[in-house]
């Protein structure tokens, strides 16, 4: 039997969050009443002309640089011609053979191993409007009418095309997540999959392991979460392998991911869909990126998630945790860095930051917790002054009040009693009151110790260090 190798490439559309649209002054804004952010330009009215948004062009250059691409010194807009009701001019201003950025890469991380994925290109284009199909379950072919909302029409869109370097559904997901994190880091897009401000399409093919040539590729669309992207790619890989093993062949087409069915289904193939009759957009001048501008944008790039991940790993944080921490909220990372600077162990701190602190802050957003405060809390746990579960309680209160860990622990009366004399006394008292249990223990029934620990803990109000109680009990029982 043949072993099959999946080959996956990803195309990403990123909606930029510039103040205005790509070619007009309308606001870029989501969730507003239909057709409120529109003008003659983004409605494609007769006579209207586009003017390119400089902020959007700066954003795509930054994306290109962050993906280690070459920035073309000169780049051209083209018209991509096709008829669609929510495409007001019936052509999309896009870029055909002279994209802004080419030949880059992104290092992704999966299960602790790093993998370099090639980036073929990143180009600038405009988004379309939205069709809202009425009736017939909202599907185009059964709808009774369609309403059009042009608020999204003309929103700046960056398309990033990877090389077919991914070899599994899990890798496809890791690439998508890491790319999303990079876009978020650059702060150029809301990058929310569920709102469609970042959209992933996958090109999937399979070939026998060792084969040089690529198999027939199928484009899959309509995945609106990382999970559905992974499921869709996995399902498509399976489908293609089943086809090939059954002696059939794969047809080049576009397939739609059906989340409920858990499979892809064929979309009606567009007639002549490959001939978009691209030609240079005569209403716009060629884009020229001066070397010094590109250099400035390059040196102004923030630390990128992949670089940060390596830095955390270098500090001793395990790969998986380092990846999560590298992509987490900057505020959380600031707390991490401060706590480590105040002497906390990086790995322990990373676990607390990506685990408990993330959870607490998600429930109660607050800016009152500082890295030094977290370091104090972790030190108390380490020194046996707080149990782990009590520390979580303390953390919640620290977030709410902004007080130091020791203050909170005292106020909530959660400090562990590590005073040996007090514990000795409590143990003596419990043993004196429980001669029957003592006898059972001494006759070999060791599990009675649990019962006795419980009594001591109760008599100390739960604040005694359980380890110390256990030791003391055993010593006195033997004695």
């Amino acid at each position: 039997m043949t072993d099959w190798e999946p080959v996956v490439g990803i195309e990403v559309h990123v909606e930029l969050k510039t103040a205005s649209k790509m070619f007009c002054g309308c606001a870029v804004s989501f969730g507003e009443d239909p057709n409120t952010n529109i003008c003659p330009v983004c409605l494609g009215l007769p006579g209207a002309l586009p003017v390119a948004n400089a902020a959007a062009l700066e954003s795509i250059v930054r994306i290109g640089l962050a993906l280690h691409c070459q920035i073309a010194p000169q780049s051209v807009f083209h018209r991509k011609n096709y008829f669609y009701a929510d495409l007001p001019k019936n052509f999309q201003v896009s870029q055909f053979d002279s994209p802004v950025a080419i030949n880059g890469w992104l290092d992704i991380n999966l299960d602790g191993t790093s993998n370099r994925v090639g980036i073929e290109r990143a180009h600038m284009e405009e988004d379309t409007g939205k069709s809202l199909h009425q009736g017939g379950g909202g599907r185009i072919h059964s709808a009774t009418s369609t309403r059009l909302d042009f608020n999204r029409s003309g929103v700046p869109l960056v398309e990033i095309v990877s090389r077919p370097d991914l070899r599994s559904a899990a890798e496809a997901r890791a690439y998508a997540q890491d790319l999303r994190a990079l876009i978020a880091e650059l702060d150029v897009s809301d990058a929310r999959m569920e709102e469609g401000s970042i959209r992933f399409d996958a090109n999937v093919s399979v070939r026998p392991v060792g084969a040089g040539e690529l198999g027939t590729k199928v484009e899959i669309k309509n995945m609106n979460s990382f999970r559905s992207l992974e499921r869709a790619v996995a399902s498509e890989i399976e489908r293609q392998i089943a086809l090939l093993e059954g002696g059939s062949r794969v047809i080049q087409e576009t397939r739609h991911w059906d989340e409920e069915a858990g499979s892809t289904r064929s979309m009606r193939t567009k007639e002549g869909s490959s001939d978009y009759r691209y030609f240079t957009e005569p209403d716009l001048l060629p884009l020229v990126f001066a070397a010094d501008t590109v250099d400035r944008l390059h040196s102004d790039l923030p630390e990128l998630p992949a670089d940060r991940r390596s830095r955390f790993e270098g500090m001793g944080v395990a790969a998986g945790t380092a990846r999560v921490l590298a992509m987490t909220d900057p505020e959380l990372r600031r707390i991490f860095t401060e706590a480590v600077a105040a002497g906390s162990d990086p790995m322990t701190t990373a676990i607390w930051v990506t685990g408990e602190l993330t959870a607490v802050l998600r429930k109660t957003p607050s800016s009152k917790v500082a890295g030094v405060g977290l370091a104090g809390l972790l030190a108390m746990v380490k020194e046996g002054k707080l149990s782990s579960s009590a520390a979580k309680e303390v953390l919640t209160e620290m977030v709410a009040s902004g007080d130091e860990a020791s203050v909170v622990a005292e106020r909530l009366d959660l400090l562990l009693v590590s005073d040996t004399n007090a514990i000795e006394a409590a143990v003596t008292e419990v043993l004196a009151a429980q001669p029957h249990a003592v006898a059972r223990y001494r006759s070999g029934e060791e599990k009675v110790i649990g019962f006795l620990v419980g009594l001591v803990m109760r008599s100390t109000g739960g604040k005694a260090d359980p380890k110390l109680v256990n030791e003391t009990l055993r010593r006195q029982l033997v004695g």
């Binding site: 003659p40 409605l43 494609g44 009215l45 007769p46 006579g47 209207a48 002309l49 586009p50 003017v51 390119a52 018209r79 011609n81 008829f83 009701a85 007001p88 001019k89 019936n90 052509f91 369609t146 059009l148 490959s274 001939d275 009759r277 691209y278 030609f279 005569p282 209403d283 716009l284 001048l285």
Partner: protein, 493 residues
């Protein structure tokens, strides 16, 4: 005293300044003229009686308070019906835009309104400016005031005829392949196409974006310059708008042509050129030489293939520019079972034969497998022509030629033969391919009493030199003929 409708903009301006006439008087005169000529000539698609009246009254009111805004304040002008005018029907002489009222003014219209101009109405054109006779209008042809059996040229035929007939003192048109200069020549008026980028295209319904340029049609070279100055200059809404300052041409109107190097274009003569046109051209060149110009004959081989390149590039751009007319958002909608069917039916019914022909031609030229042979090759010709022109303008200051190989032809003479119609733009197209300025000035009449136009072409941003020569041509030609229809109309006044 001449009828106010026959004044130049400059003279009308003097009358307004001295109080001999009001803006309302001028408007009355052109409206009266229109009422006598429109039934026969059909220069206008829409006359904006109320808007024009209001604008004239406001102008007179400003003048009474000495707040007049410049040389166009109170002057009744006509606009080709492919300029977007807020709230005023803008049809491009197409069924597909019948009844369409834009929600905004084009930049040129906004500048004219700011300058106090009185916009009389919107003039007829070949549908979407595609044609050379104004016979491709969905609302019927415009006729030539010099002989109503003849075409006025096109596509700005309505504007040219209105200026010739006196139903506006001057007008604006758009020139994509000669659409200002050729009708100006056929109607005996001055028509000027500026350097590409000097006048904003924002709000001009696009025909072929890389060629389209707005310009004036007027009764004198000085008037043409006045209209140009009123609308030229950078517009942040048009990315192809020239960011520098507009060349200053007014001082050169009076300087004459002594020692100006003039090149007569060899390729724009010979077969297909009416003898009267050739004779008038040569005669004018001789007069210029006699006035001190240094004349030589120059050759621009690419001019011979400019027409072919133009008829590939322009339709390619048309196929995309006209794609937006689909019945979805505005204009004509013919319903269908599906969205695709609605779009297809709307377009099939909404566009006339010439628009359809060019959309198909352009779609084909851009198709996979044909792109390089057609569109790509045409762009290479365009580059070659630009280089040839740049070289020739090292040797001469301006080029001269006929503005049209023939005088006005009869209605219907070329409607069955698109190629013959396309050939009428042979003299004017090179300046569009190169984006350079060119002007047509009337220099005489042929044996049938039809006007002959003389073209002067300059290098990009060479407007000063262009107007210098054009003004001398105008002085030498002393063209003071009037269409007969006006003499007849005059009797009825």
């Amino acid at each position: 005293m001449a009828d106010l409708a026959d004044l130049t903009v400059a003279t009308a301006g003097e009358r307004l300044a001295t109080g001999e006439a009001s803006a309302a008087d001028l408007l009355d005169a052109v409206i009266r003229r229109a009422s006598l000529t429109e039934a026969e000539l059909h220069c206008y698609v829409t006359i904006d009686h109320d808007g024009a009246r209001r604008a004239a009254e406001e102008s007179d009111h400003r003048r009474s308070r000495s707040e007049s805004r410049g040389p166009l304040d109170g002057i009744p002008l006509a606009l080709k019906d492919n300029f977007c005018t807020r709230g005023l029907e803008t049809t491009c002489s197409s069924q597909i835009l019948s009844g369409y009222r834009p929600p905004y003014d084009s930049t040129v219209v906004a500048r004219l309104r700011d300058g106090g101009a009185v916009i009389v109405g919107k003039t007829n054109l070949d549908e979407f400016a595609m044609g050379s006779s104004t016979e491709n209008s969905a609302f019927g042809p415009t006729r030539n005031p010099w002989n109503p059996e003849r075409v006025p040229g096109g596509s700005s035929g309505g504007s040219a005829a209105a200026v010739a007939a006196g139903s506006a003192l001057a007008a604006f048109g758009s020139d994509t392949g000669g659409s200002i200069r050729q009708p100006a020549a056929l109607c005996g008026v001055v028509g000027f196409k500026p350097t590409y980028g000097l006048v904003s295209r924002f709000g001009l319904v696009a025909f072929s974006s890389s060629f389209d340029q707005i310009g004036p049609l007027a009764r004198s070279v000085a008037d043409a310059l006045t209209l140009f100055e009123a609308v030229a200059g950078h517009d942040p809404l048009d990315a192809t708008s020239y960011p520098g300052t507009v060349p200053e041409a007014r001082p050169s109107l009076e300087t004459g042509v002594k020692d100006v190097r003039i090149g007569l274009v060899r390729e724009l003569s010979g077969e297909g050129y009416e003898p009267a046109v050739t004779a008038a051209t040569n005669d004018m060149v001789a007069q210029l030489e006699a006035s001190g110009a240094i004349v030589s004959e120059v050759s621009l081989p690419s001019f011979a293939i400019a027409l072919s390149a133009y008829y590939l590039i322009a339709p390619a751009e048309v196929s995309a520019n006209l794609a937006r007319f689909d019945g979805v958002r505005y204009g004509l909608r013919v319903t269908g079972e599906t969205v695709e069917e609605m779009m297809a039916r709307t377009r099939a019914e909404g566009f006339g034969p010439e628009a359809t022909r060019r959309i198909l031609l352009g779609t084909y030229a851009l198709s996979a497998g044909y792109y390089d042979a057609f569109y790509g090759q045409a762009q290479r010709v365009r580059t070659k022509l630009i280089n040839e022109l740049a070289n020739v303008f090292e040797q001469v200051d301006v080029l001269v030629s006929p503005a049209s190989p023939t005088t006005a032809f009869e209605l219907g003479a070329k409607t069955q033969d698109p190629l013959a119609m396309y050939l009428t733009d042979v003299c004017t197209i090179p300046a569009n391919l190169a984006g350079t300025p060119a002007i047509s000035i009337p220099v005489g009449l042929d044996a049938d009493g039809l006007p002959i136009g003389f073209q002067v072409m300059g290098p990009a941003l060479g407007e000063a030199r262009l107007f210098q020569v054009a003004a001398e041509v105008e002085r030498l030609a002393t063209f003071d003929h009037r269409p007969e229809i006006l003499a007849a109309a005059g009797d009825r006044l």
